[in-house]
C-alpha cells in the first residue's frame, strides 16, 4: 500500500504521464489522416487503451487523464497542508483537477447535434451529426407515437434484438457501415435480398466509412422481423438518408421502419419564424446570419421569442443553439428550388460547460493569492525597520 501510495504521489509519475500524453496527442493527430477526425478521437482519446488488432498497445486518453487527476490529488493530499500560506497552491491544483475532470465529463456526457428548420417549421428534436438509429414507430395511438430506437452500434453487432415494447424480435441479417444503394448489381454490389419494402430489389455497394468532416457515413442494414416462435415476418432493407417509410403490418398493427439520423428529443419545441441572410454588397461574404425563433416548453405555457445569430447563441433548458448553416438568400433558394428559407442550428448539450470557467477562476485567484502572499511577505521584509 505504501509503495502504491508513493508511486501515485510521485512527481516522476506526473512527468511520465505528461510525456505519454504528448506522444498520444502526436500519434492521435497524425492518425486523423487515416482514420478521420472522429474515429481517431474515439480510438486514441476517448478510450482507456489504444488497441492494435484488439491488443492494448498504448494508454488511451481516458486512462492518462484519470491517472493525472489521481496523481495530482494524491500528491496534493500528501504534501499540502491546509494553511493560509498554501491556500493559493490548493486553489491552483483544484482548478487544474476541475479542468481535467470537466473535460472528461464533457467527453462522456455532452452531445452535439443539428436542427434544420424551414421558415414556419416547428420541431422538438435535433439530429445527430454522426450517429444513426433504427426507429420502429408504432403510430396506432392517436395522441402520440411509441418509438423503439436501436442505436447503430447495436445493429453493427448483428445480434438479435428484442424488447417488451415490441411483439416481435429484430434479427440483423446484414449491416453495412457505409453503403450506396443501386438498382442493379455490379460484381461487388450484392443484392440485399429483402422480401418486403421499398428497397426490396436494391443492391448494396459497401463503401469505406467517411473520413472527412464534411461527409457522413450512410449505413444500411437488412433486418428480419420474427415472431415469438421465431417465424420470419419478412425482411426489409433500411438505409440512412433514404426515406423509404416502410410499414410492417404485424398483429393488425402498423410499425414504421426507418434507419435515420439519431434523434435527440427535447422538452420544448422550437419554431423558425424568420431566417435572414445578409451579405456585404456585391460579394458572397456573409455579413449577418440571423434566425428569429420561438421556443415553447411542453410542460408550461412559457413562450420566448429571440434572435439567434453568429456568436449569439440561444441557451435554453440546458441546450445551446448556435447559428450553423443557412439557406435564405435568393440565389441559394433558387438553386435549391426552395420557396422557403431554412436555417440550421448546431445544438450542444454540455452539462459541464461551466467547469472550465470555474477552473480558470480558481487557478487565477490561486495564482494571485500565492504571488500576492510572497510579494507582500517580501515587501514586509524589505521595509527598513525603525530602530
Amino acid at each position: 500500500m505504501k509503495r502504491i501510495t508513493s508511486i501515485l504521489t510521485s512527481l516522476r509519475l506526473t512527468i511520465v504521464l505528461l510525456g505519454l500524453s504528448t506522444i498520444l496527442v502526436f500519434i492521435g493527430t497524425i492518425a486523423q489522416a487515416n482514420y478521420g477526425l472522429y474515429d481517431a478521437q474515439d480510438k486514441f482519446f476517448k478510450s482507456f487503451f489504444v488497441l492494435w488488432n484488439g491488443v492494448p498497445v498504448f494508454p488511451g486518453g481516458y486512462l492518462l487523464g484519470w491517472l493525472l487527476v489521481i496523481n495530482l490529488v494524491a500528491a496534493q493530499a500528501k504534501r499540502t497542508e491546509l494553511t493560509k500560506k498554501k491556500a493559493g497552491l490548493i486553489m491552483i491544483h483544484t482548478g487544474i483537477v476541475l479542468m481535467l475532470v470537466g473535460q472528461l465529463a464533457t467527453d462522456m456526457v455532452s452531445t452535439e447535434s443539428q436542427m434544420q428548420l424551414f421558415e414556419g417549421d416547428t420541431k422538438n428534436f435535433s439530429e445527430d451529426f454522426r450517429a444513426n438509429e433504427l426507429a420502429i414507430i408504432d403510430a396506432s395511438d392517436p395522441k402520440d407515437d411509441q418509438v423503439v430506437a436501436v442505436p447503430e452500434s447495436i445493429l453493427a453487432t448483428k445480434k438479435d434484438i428484442s424488447t417488451p415494447a415490441l411483439p416481435f424480435s429484430i434479427r440483423v441479417k446484414e449491416y453495412w457501415a457505409n453503403a450506396d444503394l443501386l438498382r442493379s448489381g455490379f460484381s461487388n454490389a450484392v443484392p440485399a435480398n429483402a422480401t418486403e419494402g421499398f428497397l426490396k430489389n436494391a443492391f448494396v455497394l459497401s463503401k469505406p466509412t467517411a473520413k472527412d468532416m464534411e461527409s457522413r457515413s450512410l449505413p444500411a442494414a437488412l433486418i428480419e422481423l420474427t415472431d415469438k416462435a421465431g417465424k420470419s415476418l419478412g425482411s426489409w432493407l433500411v438505409a440512412a438518408g433514404i426515406r423509404s417509410d416502410d410499414v410492417a403490418k404485424i398483429d393488425g398493427k402498423d410499425y414504421r421502419l426507418s434507419l435515420r439520423f439519431t434523434r435527440h428529443y427535447k422538452d420544448f419545441e422550437l419554431s423558425l419564424l424568420k431566417a435572414t441572410h445578409e451579405k456585404y454588397r456585391g460579394t458572397d461574404i456573409p455579413k449577418n446570419f440571423a434566425s428569429r425563433v420561438r421556443v415553447k416548453m411542453n410542460s408550461s405555457p412559457e413562450v420566448r421569442e429571440t434572435i439567434i445569430y453568429m456568436n449569439n447563441p440561444l441557451r435554453w433548458a440546458g441546450y445551446t443553439f448556435f447559428q450553423y448553416q443557412m439557406a435564405a438568400d435568393e440565389l441559394a433558394l433558387r438553386q435549391m428550388n426552395m420557396d422557403r428559407a431554412s436555417s440550421t442550428f448546431q445544438v450542444v448539450k454540455n452539462p459541464s460547460w461551466v467547469t472550465p470557467y470555474i477552473a480558470c477562476v480558481l487557478v487565477g485567484v490561486g495564482l494571485c493569492w500565492q504571488f500576492g502572499f510572497h510579494l507582500f511577505g517580501f515587501l514586509r521584509r524589505r521595509k527598513p525597520s525603525v530602530a
Binding site: A74, A165, A189, F198, A240, G241
Partner: protein
C-alpha cells in the same frame, strides 16, 4: 487524508463512468410529429414521398437528402472545384420547362430568351426511359466572379415535376456531363419495377454474356461494366449518347493510352476495320505500343442514339489471346 481523497475520487470516477452514455435500445413516446408547413410550400411529406431509385456514379458523394431534395450529391474536381447535384420533386403546377428556362439562365447570369428560342434549346435525353431535354447553361452568376455551369433536366410524372440538376464549377460540370446523363438514365421509379430489361440503366451483372476466363469487377467512372480478361488485360464498356466526341478523337485518345502519337482524319480509314455482329456493324480499331508490350483493341457499336464503346487493354500477349472473344462479346454483349 489521502485515503479519504482516494475514496472520494473513486466515487467521482464511478459516477462519471456511469454517466457515460452507454448505447442501448431506447423506448419512448413522442407527440405525433407535426411539422407545420407554410401555406405556400409544396414540399412532399415523407409519407407521400415518391419512390425513386438511381445509380450513383462513382466518385459522387452521397449527401443526406434534406429539405425538398430526394437526392443530393456532391461532385469534387481538381483545385477544389465542386458541383452539386439535386433531385427535387415538386407536385402541382410549377410551370412548363420553357417558363423555367429564363429563371435558370438568370441563375448563371445569362440573359432571357424568347419562348421560341427557349423551345429550341437543349438536347434529347432519357430519364427513366422517358424522353426529356437536357439543358446546358454556363455563365457567371450575379455576385460571383467564377463561371458556373448548370445541367438541368425535368420529367413530369403523375402530376409531379421532377427536377434533376447539376450545378457548379464550369469546367468540372462540363467534364462530368456524361456522368450526369448516365445518372439520368439510371433513374427508376418503384412502379417501373416491371420495366423491360433493355432500359438504359446499366444491366445486372448476370445479363452480360461473359466469355470464359473473364470476371466482372467494379466499373470506374462513366463505365457501364468492367472485366478482367486473361489476368493481364481489362475490358471496359461505356455508353454515351450521340457520337461522344467522334471516332477520330476517340482513336487518338486510345493511341495516347498506348503511347502512340495522334493521327489525322486521312489516316483513320487505314486504322479501322468493320465487322458484322448480331447487333449490327462494329467498328474495330487495334493498336500496339511502340515497344510491343501493350495492346489496345476497341470496338464501337451504334445502338439507336447511343454509342457503345468496348475496350480491351493490357499485355500484348493476353490481348492477342482474348481478341476473338472480345470482338464476339462486343457484338453480342447480353
Amino acid at each position: 487524508m489521502l485515503r479519504s481523497a482516494s475514496g472520494g475520487f473513486a466515487a467521482v470516477l464511478g459516477l462519471l463512468a456511469s454517466g457515460c452514455q452507454r448505447e442501448e435500445v431506447r423506448v419512448y413516446r413522442v407527440p405525433k410529429e407535426q411539422i407545420a408547413v407554410a401555406p405556400t410550400a409544396n414540399a412532399p411529406s415523407a409519407e407521400s414521398a415518391p419512390k425513386i431509385g438511381w445509380q450513383v456514379p462513382d466518385g459522387w458523394q452521397v449527401k443526406p437528402a434534406d429539405g425538398m431534395r430526394l437526392g443530393s450529391f456532391g461532385v469534387k474536381g481538381a483545385d477544389g472545384a465542386t458541383a452539386d447535384v439535386s433531385v427535387i420533386p415538386l407536385p402541382g403546377e410549377v410551370g412548363s420547362i420553357d417558363s423555367n428556362i429564363n429563371r435558370w439562365r438568370g441563375q448563371v447570369g445569362l440573359s432571357a430568351v424568347s419562348e421560341e428560342e427557349a423551345a429550341k434549346l437543349g438536347e434529347p435525353v432519357s430519364i427513366a426511359g422517358v424522353d426529356s431535354r437536357l439543358l446546358d447553361f454556363s455563365g457567371t452568376p450575379p455576385g460571383k466572379s467564377k463561371a458556373e455551369r448548370m445541367l438541368v433536366a425535368t420529367l413530369e410524372r403523375g402530376g409531379t415535376k421532377w427536377f434533376f440538376k447539376m450545378q457548379g464549377d464550369d469546367a468540372l460540370v462540363a467534364t462530368r456531363r456524361n456522368e450526369f446523363i448516365v445518372f439520368l438514365k439510371s433513374v427508376r421509379f418503384q412502379d417501373d419495377a416491371a420495366a423491360p430489361a433493355e432500359a438504359a440503366a446499366p444491366a445486372a451483372s448476370s445479363s452480360w454474356k461473359i466469355p470464359a476466363g473473364w470476371s466482372e469487377i467494379a466499373p470506374g467512372p462513366m463505365q457501364q461494366a468492367k472485366f478482367t480478361a486473361g489476368g493481364k488485360a481489362e475490358v471496359t464498356i461505356s455508353i454515351f449518347p450521340g457520337q461522344a466526341g467522334g471516332l477520330l478523337m476517340n482513336v487518338n485518345r486510345w493511341r495516347g493510352q498506348v503511347g502512340l502519337g495522334a493521327v489525322d482524319e486521312s489516316d483513320l480509314a487505314n486504322l479501322i476495320q468493320q465487322a458484322d455482329s448480331p447487333s449490327g456493324k462494329l467498328t474495330v480499331v487495334d493498336m500496339k505500343s511502340d515497344d510491343g508490350a501493350k495492346r489496345l483493341v476497341a470496338a464501337i457499336a451504334t445502338r439507336g442514339s447511343e454509342s457503345w464503346y468496348f475496350k480491351l487493354l493490357g499485355d500484348a500477349a493476353t490481348v492477342e489471346k482474348e481478341r476473338a472473344a472480345f470482338v464476339k462479346f462486343s457484338g453480342d454483349p447480353r
